[in-house]
Assembly symmetry: C3
Homo-oligomer: 336 residues x 3
């Protein structure tokens, strides 16, 4: 990234060369057309965002920066007064019972899809299991929340399940894929910097999603797992469930040896149209170039070794699979 | 398979060529000696079956199609009236208490071993833990079942444990290996086709089998695990327990990159006489050829890289290990 | 090992050649300077021990054989009368309450550090979760133990947590790294030989150590995991937590294909100064040579493939990383 964008010529950042790198980067990034330079040099045509549910989605080109409804707060932090206030403010409505809560969530889908949103997304702790919850079951719990009573662990889980299931229902209604990032534990290292506090727990199974995947056959679920140990389960679920797609979002396991292994098993066993190769979690626009370069090198190696050499595929056929994995499936699944 | 059996000449089945493939396959498979053609072309000398416990084992050559007592229904579906009726019908006996249940199961072993059965087999959900259960402990539970009362989850588990432990005891008495396929969750995708509904849960540990492996040192347990994440535990258990053998039955994880990894660690660390290379779960007679061809390619690659190149073994020595893994150990362990 | 130390010339130990090997080994090992021969031929400058907490640490050169306080008994077998007697005898003190227990443990640290100990170490079953326990909470439990009452499972866990947390506190005070070997199940194969009875359970997560790693930022925790499935979690924890170091102690998973995978992901993703390449669990002095030879071959292969070839590193840079991983980090972390 430093070599491509900032004219850096060394192999590593050291105490000797960091200052000139800093200066060059600062100068480059201050150029008025820097965003365009990055997009163009990186070959980026669209960037998929994850937006807070109360994002007005104004002030940017939504056909370039494609909105996505991020729903962690609605599902896992609805007991916080702040979340409920944000929901009421964003929708201009009042949440007083399950029906009005559902209606408010529906308004978010209306707002997001009107503004070109192509997906709903959520990251989920390893202990959560989605389940259908009736309005009558959640009603006393919701009333408790609204009147400021502290929920028990079990009550909070039921409320999370109700909101999650409501989101899945609206994904069906609005024909949006529902991206699931499964296995995140937040704030494990409390003294860590922003985005440097989270870890995961490999003791999670996709069996927790059995009811969900069966209940919403019309919703596509691009699923990414944090623990590499979950990859084989994901490959098998994508093979068995027509609505489960493997999503190449590796996050903390963003390590070439793991990506290579996962890539090998997905290319071998997941139906070709049901794999999204790489979803970079790029954080900064500049990160796309090195992250995709890394993934493309891994993908090229796997296609060459496992397909062209081991299976005798032609290079053209292997490249076509690579393009589907990198690009074609994204266009089909997210309808862009 | 299509190229070898049906004269197919393309690299992939497409919408253009499927019809002629279908016609050729239908014609070939209708030939009166098709079974012999497949056996001969595939190099098959014996096929190991898994038979329902009430299979009469008549009408086929049991020295070619070797019977095996499949016991899932006895252990996990004994609460169903249908299972008990089948048991009573197959054994001509009446099950009224633990002793008569045990006797009926013993009759199955008598029938199967008289007809050349070489193993007892079962597939087991990830939550099950075998344990010794006394007759007095299971008696009230069995009485409940026989009188049609619904069992609690815990009672059903005790009954499963009793039946499972009884099977292990008869394996000792009749000197049959007890094949364990550990980790199956049945009917996860309810709308799936037959044999396309099952998945697994990687949250399983062989520690659940500690009591079993210790209690029956005289019984050989060829163990296969569904989750690749369990492979290393299995390798270690086979290293420590003299009666545990790794079984190459990969099922849903039947993916070359996983098989290659598992194969590498098993060849490295499991005693040479305690590894069954590949147990294909072939479903159809025609599947043996491509499945074993895949495994043999992986095995050859691992022997070449890890043994001949990395360890300086002679090719002869590597091939001898390959033969033991593929064939010799099967003959010894199943006494064929 | 046999070739290097005993003049063995074959590739494998067989029924034909074992006797002359036995004779040669017996003769060599009886030579008066055998220990020096092994040290010199193996290139060993120091050996890190794990010593019982009541080891007098006399009769050997502690700058060559570096002591380490092994604490399994204190944490997991303190309910045994024998452990308490040993503690009282070793410290010449009487344990009657939490304060005197803490003081006795402190005396062990005093004794060990005076004698050159460079670490505290413990192996931990997969179910254990460290937690801070107050003296008032543990007091009635400790009283029960001292008066011979049997503890409940939960009470015993609290006592283990108190002792463990006390050890971590003294590691902070005495500036000792605390080696954690996570995931051991002891005596699984009861009929096994010494050091051939233990296995592990892959259902463990480092999330269980969240409170510990946050509470003692000043203590370095070299962590090794038994299950290969835990390696990716460990890599991520070492990346996030400044006080977590990956320790290359693979034990039962001491299998080249696993070590290679783990080595690849650690070299890729763990900060370079926070990885201890190989900690051999060597048992016998003679084992160091073949064990480190195995690891060095794996390390060399990974450095060559993943760094020199794939990333274009110079050989010098790769070798420097290898030296840090094999040797430099050990010197820094254990202050030798």
């Amino acid at each position: 990234m430093c070599q491509q964008f900032f004219g850096f010529e060394s192999d590593a950042v050291t105490t000797e060369n960091w200052e000139s790198l800093y200066d060059n980067a600062a100068a480059k990034m201050a150029e008025p057309d820097w965003e365009q330079q990055v997009l163009s040099k990186s070959g980026l045509e669209k960037v998929f965002l994850t937006n807070d549910f109360d994002d007005p989605l104004t002030g940017f080109d939504t056909s370039l920066y494609v909105p996505c409804l991020r729903t962690d707060d609605l599902v896992f932090h609805f007991t916080k007064r702040e979340t409920r206030d944000r929901l009421e403010k964003a929708t201009g409505s009042s949440v007083s019972d399950p029906a009005s809560l559902r209606a408010a969530i529906g308004q978010l889908f209306e707002h997001f899809t009107k503004n070109g949103a192509k997906a709903c997304a959520i990251s989920i702790p390893p202990t959560f299991s989605p389940a259908a919850v009736s309005e009558s079951e959640v009603e006393p719990i919701l009333t408790s929340v609204l009147t400021g009573r502290e929920l028990s662990h079990d009550e909070a889980a039921v409320l999370s399940q109700f909101n999650f299931w409501t989101l899945a229902g609206f994904c069906a209604e609005y024909r949006l894929p529902f991206d699931l990032m499964i296995g995140v534990n937040r704030r494990v290292y409390e003294a860590g910097v922003f985005q440097g506090q989270d870890l995961y727990d490999s003791r999670v199974s996709l069996i927790q999603y059995r009811e969900l995947f069966n209940a919403f056959p019309q919703v596509t679920f691009p699923v990414s797992v944090l623990a590499q140990t979950s990859n084989q389960e994901l490959v098998s679920y994508a093979w068995i469930f027509p609505n489960v797609v493997t999503n190449g979002h590796w996050w903390y396991s963003n390590i070439p040896p793991h990506i290579e292994l996962d890539c090998r098993s997905r290319l071998s066993a997941v139906p070709q149209t049901k794999q999204i190769g790489y979803y970079s979690d790029m954080y900064k626009l500049e990160f796309a170039l090195p992250k995709f370069a890394m993934y493309r090198r891994i993908l090229a190696k796997v296609l060459a070794n496992d397909f062209v050499i081991d299976r005798g595929w032609s290079e053209e056929r292997a490249i076509a699979l690579g393009k589907l994995n990198l690009r074609g499936n994204v266009e089909t699944i997210f309808q862009v």
